[in-house]
């Protein structure tokens, strides 16, 4: 089992690496094309800003590489958003793996509901429909930190609700994405990482 975490200018790479270590899984962090291609599983993490991250990926050809991967790939937070079609964060065209678009929370709706953006903290995930969520209960709590969201669409495999209902996770072919941080989501997050390893 060879697990690779894609190295790029994202913030939570160490956290993902350590979370995998906690569940007894070794991973390597790399941006080397051959190593990424030959991995059994690939994790595409991310905390940061969409356009900066996309530029970085493009400069290194990682955008083309990620799109062409055929093994299971898990995008986390910004990683998931970058796998969508477009992001309203600085109007960034993304990888286009998922057809869903990434939008900014509507400020009027947010203020009306007395909610703060970014969402920081624990929220529930429901309407779970993927082996990624094996052994998890509906409305399990996960840790979220984000100011943009992926709308609900045909690839939605879990939803959450903050300001409005949207995608907590997406799946298409070999590509999976989660908006929350499994590496920081206590036992629930560890189960999701274990499930991804077993896919």
């Amino acid at each position: 089992m060879k697990l690779v975490i894609i190295k790029y200018n994202a913030g939570n790479i160490q956290s993902v690496l350590y979370a995998l270590e906690r569940i007894g899984v070794e991973a390597i962090v790399t941006d080397d094309e051959a190593l990424i291609r030959s991995a059994d599983k690939v994790i595409f993490p991310g905390v940061g800003e969409a356009s900066t991250a996309m530029n970085y990926l493009k400069e290194r050809g990682l955008d083309v590489l990620i799109r062409s991967l055929t093994q299971p790939v898990l995008g986390i937070c910004l990683g998931m958003q970058l796998m969508c079609a477009n992001s309203e964060e600085n109007d960034t065209p993304c990888l286009g793996i998922f057809d869903e678009n990434v939008k900014k929370f509507n400020p009027d709706a947010q203020i009306q509901q007395h909610l703060k953006v970014p969402q920081i903290g624990w929220n529930t995930i429901g309407e779970l429909k993927s082996p990624l969520f094996f052994d998890l209960k509906e409305n399990s709590y996960c840790y979220f930190v984000h100011g943009y969201y992926a709308a609900k669409g045909e690839h939605t495999i879990a939803t959450t609700d903050y300001v409005l209902p949207y995608s907590a996770a997406l799946h298409k072919n070999n590509f999976y994405g989660v908006q929350f941080h499994p590496e920081k989501s206590a036992a629930v997050g560890e189960q999701i990482l274990k499930n991804f390893i077993k896919l």
Partner: protein
């Protein structure tokens, strides 16, 4: 729905927890990693590690500790104390901290907040404010662990910091800290209502009812406490069940 958060705070000196804690079910209560892991297992939503190490030479101990914490703890954690530069933060984040908190150094050099937010994102920049209500009724910012008074009002500094990129405010009322008479509801409510970012209330939590009040009346997003957890006056599971019974959304 997004939950309210319960955050135990551990004071660290030279890599060890400071306050006298006594738990039967852990081997070494002075070990921040073991105590933090216990709180995480009990349902703490995040942890704050506040380094009060006096000397610069011993600060290396902190980054090593942070590395150990991030290997063992599966919930987010914030590290604060003595952070005054982008380099300081970079080392802590590289070692696995999710957020850092700045206080005096940010007040003396407000651009630090902007630099940190630009470099690492607002989501990991927590501004800690120690505030005290004076006889004129106003809440002022205090520095250096509450030893130095400023003429700046707490609300003004908080707003400026958020404009510069602070992603959360950790608000400690010096009038309430250590009293166990309840959180500072008025200044917490003022910030929670006026700021677009989450407010973590700290100082004064002594009973479970105090936590209900700080969430319901003051609209705090999170509540932080130290000794009541360390001395087992309130257990995190019982606190969360109590809040849940009172209709406050918490992660159980």
């Amino acid at each position: 729905m997004l939950t309210k958060r319960i955050i135990p705070c551990l004071d660290i000196r030279d890599g060890r927890t400071v306050k006298g804690v006594n738990f039967e079910n852990i081997r070494d209560a002075g070990d921040p990693v073991e105590l933090g892991a216990l709180y995480a297992a009990q349902g703490a939503d995040e942890l704050v590690f506040l380094d009060i190490t006096a000397t610069v030479e011993k600060r290396k101990t902190l980054s090593e500790l942070v590395n150990r914490i991030s290997h063992h703890i599966n919930i987010p954690f914030t590290v604060g104390g003595g952070i005054s530069s982008v380099d300081d933060v970079s080392i802590l984040l590289q070692n696995g901290a999710d957020k850092i908190s700045v206080n005096t150094s940010a007040f003396k050099n407000a651009q630090l907040i902007h630099q940190l937010a630009k470099e690492f994102g607002s989501q990991c920049v927590v501004l800690a404010i120690d505030t005290k209500q004076e006889s004129d009724g106003e809440w002022y910012v205090y520095l250096n662990g509450g030893r130095v008074k400023t003429d700046t009002k707490c609300v003004d500094w908080a707003k400026q910091a958020v404009d510069l990129g602070a992603g959360e405010i950790l608000l400690t009322s010096m009038n309430h800290d250590g009293t166990k008479q309840g959180f500072a509801l008025d200044i917490t409510a003022t910030l929670a209502e006026q700021l677009p970012v989450p407010v973590i209330a700290s100082g004064g939590g002594g009973t479970m009812e105090h936590f209900v009040d700080v969430f319901e009346i003051a609209k705090a997003d999170a509540a932080l406490a130290a000794s009541i957890f360390h001395f087992k006056e309130i257990g995190i599971p019982e606190l969360k069940h109590y809040l849940n019974e009172k209709g406050i959304i918490v992660r159980i």
